[in-house]
């Protein structure tokens, strides 16, 4: 991105915090947490109003433009300024820069998706790309930046409730049947549960046995005390992991696993849909087995002899069932340094970008629909009791619940803190480095305050990296998006309490008592 900036690209950063990316930007739109749709709709309205939409593209390739236009009619710049806290002029500038650019991309991360209306947030951004035709062309597009090395690949392999590998829909018979034939089993024709629904099912007793592979929900879930209670109450919990995580400590059975990225063979898929090879460089510790071996041993004990397939044999089976991956032989993945799906043929190049068919004459697939969506602020409302917004995220040198990054010493690591704007610190009478109590409607933690001028007054920030020391997820809300199942990690309401109030009282009492004696 910085290379592009040095080459003259313009960058606008929309983020409640003035991040290091924002410091390189032409414009920083420091919006209030959870006001993304108000902003996006106002940008859309301004683009329409200023006559900057790509009418040829809209007519040729999209549906429902009139509904969208009517839907954003009330999102004036003035309204958006009130709802988002961003000056109308800055919103107008971004709208014009985006619409007038030859090529433009919208990139986002969990700030868009960790909300109770995550899917609507994404749809609001898709609408902007349809309005301007910034999609399906080299250098333009929509780019969710993935936070983990294979979160894309996991979904592509069918580890989402309504999909089979290669994006095939479990509910569509002709997409499901090839898998039933190949696997010799029948597959239920309705979606399974996502993680949030699973926890609800545990709560209601509908789910009593859980097998967790490589995830630490006892620390990574919002409202983690609930997650721990539900996992502890299961009839049987099996955990397969590289580490004895906090989740594994709750388990009835633990399968020690090899590190998939350096102790076994396979593939991962990055943010740009590029499938790349991971390779074995180390022997795993004694007792730890490759994930494939563990799963095949499980299958054998359940009465299915899957043999001892290699990673490549399993990959080749996938290729026979997923048209996205058909052309990606191991040989080709090695030779070309990774390939982007869809790659249906071994003799053709891979696909550097998607949705190019929207530009074909006639359109080479279904038309792209606009979705009118409405601004809907975070569930956890700010009130007099909980007047401060807490948002969560990562810091450069650490990762998620820290099970991996706690393994190395980083000079950048300072441990957990509640980051606040210095102005807030002064008005609340809380100094830099002071230990405080942070209280939300769900729980409370004690943590050290750090002044950080990249925040805006009223906004605070914590991470999930040091849950053993400071369990941030006791504070977060598990209000989830019904469409994606994602919890609203990005928006909790809190209050910050001084710790030394009681201590000061105690001192006072002691002094009084001392005076009497």
């Amino acid at each position: 991105m910085l290379k592009a900036i040095h080459n003259g690209a313009r960058l606008y950063v929309v983020d409640p915090r003035r991040t290091s990316s924002a410091q390189w930007a032409d414009g920083w739109l420091g919006l209030d947490v959870g006001s993304d749709i108000a902003l996006a709709n106002a940008i859309g309205r301004e683009i329409i109003e200023a006559g900057l939409c790509n009418h040829a593209f809209i007519e040729h390739s999209t549906l429902n433009f009139q509904e969208y236009k009517a839907g954003v009619e009330s999102y004036t710049l003035e309204y958006a300024e009130r709802e988002t806290g961003v000056p109308a002029q800055a919103i107008r500038e971004l709208a014009h820069a985006y619409a007038r650019a030859d090529r433009a991309q919208l990139c986002w991360t969990l700030g868009i998706t960790e909300h109770h209306n995550a899917v609507d947030n994404v749809l609001a951004l898709i609408n902007l790309s349809l309005l301007t035709g910034h999609v399906g062309r080299y250098g333009s597009g929509l780019c969710p930046l993935r936070g983990q090395n294979n979160v894309q690949g996991g979904g592509d392999m069918g580890a989402i409730p309504n999909r089979l590998p290669g994006g095939n829909d479990v509910e569509i018979a002709e997409q499901r049947e090839p898998f039933e034939r190949a696997y010799g089993v029948s597959i239920q024709a309705k979606p399974g549960m996502h993680l949030t629904e699973m926890f609800d099912a545990m709560e209601h007793g509908a789910m009593t046995v859980v097998y967790i592979v490589g995830e630490n929900p006892a620390q990574s879930e919002a409202e983690m005390d609930r997650a721990i209670r539900l996992l502890s109450g299961l009839e049987c919990l099996v955990v397969q992991d590289m580490f004895l995580t906090k989740t594994a400590e709750l388990a009835d059975v633990v399968f020690p696993a090899a590190a998939s990225w350096c102790e076994s063979e396979g593939t991962v898929t990055n943010s740009e849909r590029r499938v790349q090879r991971v390779r074995k460089a180390l022997d795993p510790p004694p007792g730890a087995k490759d994930d494939i071996e563990i799963l095949c041993e499980m299958a054998f004990r359940l009465g299915h002899d899957w043999g001892h397939p290699s990673a490549e044999e399993i990959w080749d089976e996938l290729r026979s069932l997923s048209s996205w991956h058909q052309g990606m032989s191991y040989q080709r993945l090695e030779a070309e340094g990774g390939l982007h799906w869809p790659c249906p043929s071994e003799v053709e190049p891979d696909s550097k970008f998607l949705h190019g068919w929207l530009w074909q004459h006639p359109v080479g697939g279904p038309l792209a629909p606009f979705h009118a969506v409405e601004h809907d602020p975070p569930i956890d409302k700010l009130t007099d009791d909980f007047p401060v917004r807490l948002t969560t995220g990562r810091r450069l040198e650490s990762f998620n619940t820290g099970v991996q990054t706690s393994g190395y010493t980083s000079p950048l690591r300072r441990g957990e803190s509640l980051d606040i704007h210095p102005d807030d610190g002064r008005s609340w009478g809380i100094s830099d480095g002071e230990r405080v109590r942070v209280v939300s409607r769900r729980g409370e933690v004690e943590v050290v305050v750090r002044y950080d001028p990249i925040l805006r007054p009223g906004l605070t920030f914590m991470t999930l990296h040091f849950q053993d020391d400071v369990a941030t997820n006791l504070l977060t809300i598990d209000a989830t998006d019904p469409k994606s199942g994602t919890a609203e990690f990005k928006a909790a309401a809190i209050r910050v309490e001084k710790l030394n109030v009681e201590a000061a009282k105690t001192v006072e009492v002691a002094a009084v008592a001392g005076g009497e004696s």
Partner: protein
């Protein structure tokens, strides 16, 4: 050893070509190519120290210089663009003499013992004899090099070679800086700056022989702007910047590249998909690099990819993990 072949993807901006002559051979290369590229076309190798394919050429080391007919001075092959009908000589007496002297001056003042074998190869090829400047001068206060004032240079004792000798800077657990091995090629400064990381934690301080790479006010790394991406280590040609893990093993005399394997895999952290080249000795990762010619990040990593692998070897390796299996 399972090093993956990665593709070389050339991004040429023009279809026009330029004809020139190198050592009497006709060469045709795309417009905008360097003389070094033209040399490669006809199989002529060029010694380089400060050149890196991912960095802007800075012409600092002068070891790649060639003779260009019509030019008063020798020209750097790594940076000078080809022009029509250029006539280049890469192995003339003048070129050989210049390369030899440059190598002698560097090798007499800098400890090149951690430099790759090819650097020693250059010295042998050009018959460089750095020892002719005399034994290293150890009399001056080398430890004060960080704070030398301009104009206060202490001349070397007669008959002794001036050196940049100084103790290594060990101020964090990730990497160390041993500037007694630094030839001032500027590659680390470029990698920390606009060519890669854009952090600007280091720059060249001082003048003349007292010039050196430094953080602001020579602050220790933890007090500097450094973000520990290690992209400077990746480009250092002489081992002045090395992983703490490598440094410790070298001190313990257990570092043995003969016994190391290199395996390319993908970083276990975020979704960018950087290739990590794991250097493994005795079933332990000892350092991590990334191939410069892979187009995801062209050899650049962040702190987690470069240094965040320790967790795999913190797990019980010798005792077995059975005892830690939960049976609650």
């Amino acid at each position: 050893m399972t090093v993956a072949a990665t593709t070389h993807r050339l991004h040429l901006k023009t279809n026009r070509t330029v004809d020139l002559t190198v050592d009497g051979q006709h060469v045709r290369v795309p417009e905008g190519s360097t003389i070094m590229k033209a040399c490669q076309e006809v199989g002529i190798g060029t010694p380089t120290l400060c050149y890196e394919q991912t960095l802007t050429p800075v012409n600092a080391c002068r070891v790649c210089v060639v003779e260009m007919e019509g030019s008063r001075a020798l020209v750097p092959a790594c940076a000078r663009k080809v022009e029509p009908d250029m006539v280049i000589w890469t192995d003339s007496e003048r070129v050989r003499h210049s390369r030899k002297l440059v190598l002698e001056l560097l090798a007499s003042s800098v400890d090149l013992s951690y430099a790759p074998d090819e650097v020693q190869g250059y010295l042998d090829h050009y018959d460089a004899r750095p020892e002719r400047f005399g034994p290293p001068d150890t009399s001056d206060g080398a430890v004060h090099r960080d704070h030398t004032q301009a104009g206060h240079h202490i001349p070397t004792t007669n008959g002794y070679a001036a050196t940049v000798a100084q103790p290594p800077k060990i101020d964090n657990e990730l990497y160390i800086r041993d500037y007694s091995r630094c030839i001032l090629c500027y590659k680390c400064v470029e990698a920390c700056g606009v060519d890669a990381q854009n952090t600007f934690a280091i720059a060249v301080a001082g003048r003349g022989f007292d010039a050196h790479i430094s953080t602001e006010f020579a602050a220790p790394l933890p007090d500097s702007a450094c973000v520990y991406c290690g992209n400077c280590i990746a480009v250092c040609p002489t081992g002045a910047l090395i992983f703490k893990s490598e440094y410790d093993m070298r001190q313990a005399e257990t570092w043995d590249e003969e016994r190391q394997t290199e395996t390319d895999t993908i970083c276990p952290y975020c979704g960018v998909g950087c290739t990590l080249r794991l250097h493994v000795q005795d079933n332990r990762i000892v350092k991590v690099t990334s191939p410069m010619d892979h187009d995801v990040t062209n050899g650049n990593l962040c702190i987690k990819g470069r240094f965040g692998w320790q967790f795999v070897q913190n797990r019980a390796r010798d005792t077995g993990v059975e005892e830690s299996v939960g049976t609650s």
